[in-house]
């Protein structure tokens, strides 16, 4: 598994594609463990600014968002991969997507010392600059998570090209997976908030009535307040 991930980090899609065609439950377990550890470690740095308890909660919830998104979109991602002619089975689709999240989790874990450094230098919670500190942490984490996502998906595109044999098909499959995962992932993240934790609210594992509220409605309301 380490060899497979190293090969993919290097962009050696040939080697990885060959092993992915045989990947099974063992691969699922290995990638899940990497996601749990890497995303969990990064999640801890995500919540640390608000407090150690928030760090603990976010270390649990950050990998959970990934797993719930993979689970919720598992069927449709598999169907779309087949319909779009990639040649991937449901099993291969699940393993491939888990692998891309595992790559992102490793990148995030690698950035954990950096985000810890930002936390160390940001205005702390109980200072006058707490709002600034919250904003700095928020923007830093958004940037790091976006960067990890872009890198992981570029590698995934290379692998899909190799497995499907067509650049057009690979792009179509990647686009469909990304759209679905982002759409559902944003809502799941909304339901499982808070991750960083607002300085004005108490630390909670989940907000009261966590299924209440819709990410896209919240964005729409924010846009309306901004422009109307």
């Amino acid at each position: 598994m380490i060899g497979r991930l190293k090969a993919l980090f290097r962009g050696d899609a040939d080697r990885v594609a060959e092993s992915m065609s045989r990947a099974g439950f063992e691969s699922v377990a290995q990638f899940s463990l990497i996601i749990l550890m890497g995303a969990g470690l990064y999640g801890a740095t995500l919540g640390l600014w608000r407090g150690p308890l928030q760090a603990f909660y976010t270390a649990i919830k950050f990998p959970l968002v990934i797993f719930l998104t993979c689970l919720g979109n598992g069927a449709i991602n598999g169907m779309l991969a087949q319909i779009l002619g990639s040649g991937l089975s449901f099993r291969q689709t699940a393993v491939t997507i888990l692998m891309s999240f595992a790559i992102a989790a490793i990148i995030l874990a690698g950035f954990a010392p950096l985000t810890l450094f930002v936390w160390f230098n940001a205005p702390p919670l109980h200072s006058k600059g707490a709002i600034l500190g919250h904003s700095v942490m928020l923007l830093t984490h958004v940037f790091v998570i976006a960067l990890a996502g872009v890198i992981a998906n570029r590698r995934l595109l290379g692998l899909l090209r190799k497995m499907s044999g067509s650049d057009k098909v690979a792009r179509a499959v990647l686009f469909s997976w990304l759209t679905g995962n982002l759409f559902l992932g944003a809502q799941i993240a909304w339901n499982l908030r808070p991750f960083i934790g607002s300085p004005r609210l108490a630390i909670e594992f989940l907000r009261s009535d966590p299924l209440r509220g819709n990410f896209y409605e919240a964005v729409w309301r924010a846009l309306r307040h901004l422009f109307l």
Binding site: N73, A75, M79, L80, Q82, I83, L184
Partner: protein
């Protein structure tokens, strides 16, 4: 001696690689194989319906349409709960069947106008397969629809989401019809594209005719007739409509 193909003979399909390859299905096609063919090798479905027609295949496809639409209907009904848990699946399944029945004659006519040499039973089977593929995709989208159903009270949002997901499903399904045009005819695009637009409009109007599907009402079916655009405009304007 050269023999010209007669009007009733199928022309050799143009070579199309990939999933729309015009080839037979494996012998002893079972429901799982039918679903696999629908997702991965839809050209095989068209081949069987044209060259090796058996009643079992279209019946399986129609069964999957009903089951898939009812399964998704339960998710739609979970937004309001209560009686909608059976009303929504019943309306969605029935509405789909009615839309197929309403549009099938025009599909056969447009198929003939396109120069496609196919019997009514073949065209019927391909239409079942197209809608079946859309239903399968809706089943795949069900977890996404469910989580949003539980997270919002807004009828307008959920209606828009369900229509969006249905549109994605039907778009992939209607590619099968286009493939039938390529495989069994010459330049069949314009007629079948036009028919696809008609089918989509009929389905959208059917949703309004059978309202409410998302949300609740005192009556099972509406007493007032309404065009679907007018109904949507009213729903969006009245953004306060809740479960």
């Amino acid at each position: 001696m050269n023999t010209q193909p007669t009007q009733n003979q199928s022309l050799k399909p143009p070579p199309i690689p990939g999933p729309f390859a015009f080839e037979p299905m494996p012998r002893g096609a079972s429901p799982p194989l039918v679903i696999e063919a629908l997702l991965k090798y839809p050209g095989r479905i068209i081949h069987e319906l044209q060259n090796n027609w058996r009643a079992a295949l279209p019946l399986w496809l129609l069964s999957f349409v009903m089951l898939g639409m009812m399964a998704y209907g339960v998710v739609v009904g979970s937004f309001s709960g209560g009686a909608q848990l059976w009303i929504a699946p019943a309306k969605i399944a029935m509405g789909t069947i009615l839309s197929i029945l309403i549009c099938l004659p025009s599909l056969y006519i447009f198929t003939c106008l396109s120069g496609i040499d196919a019997q009514l039973r073949t065209v019927t089977g391909v239409l079942f397969a197209s809608v079946c593929l859309g239903a399968l995709l809706l089943v795949g989208f069900a977890p996404i629809a469910w989580i949003f159903s539980q997270s919002t009270d807004s009828v307008a949002f959920m209606a828009a989401l369900h229509i969006g997901l249905w549109a994605i499903g039907i778009m992939f399904g209607l590619r099968l019809l286009e493939a039938m045009g390529h495989l069994l005819g010459r330049s069949a695009r314009t007629h079948l594209k036009l028919w696809s637009v008609i089918f989509i409009v009929v389905c959208l109007q059917m949703m309004t005719t059978l309202r409410p599907i998302v949300g609740t009402s005192d009556h099972l079916l509406p007493s007032e007739k309404k065009f679907f655009l007018a109904h949507w405009a009213e729903t969006l304007r009245d953004g306060s409509a809740k479960k």
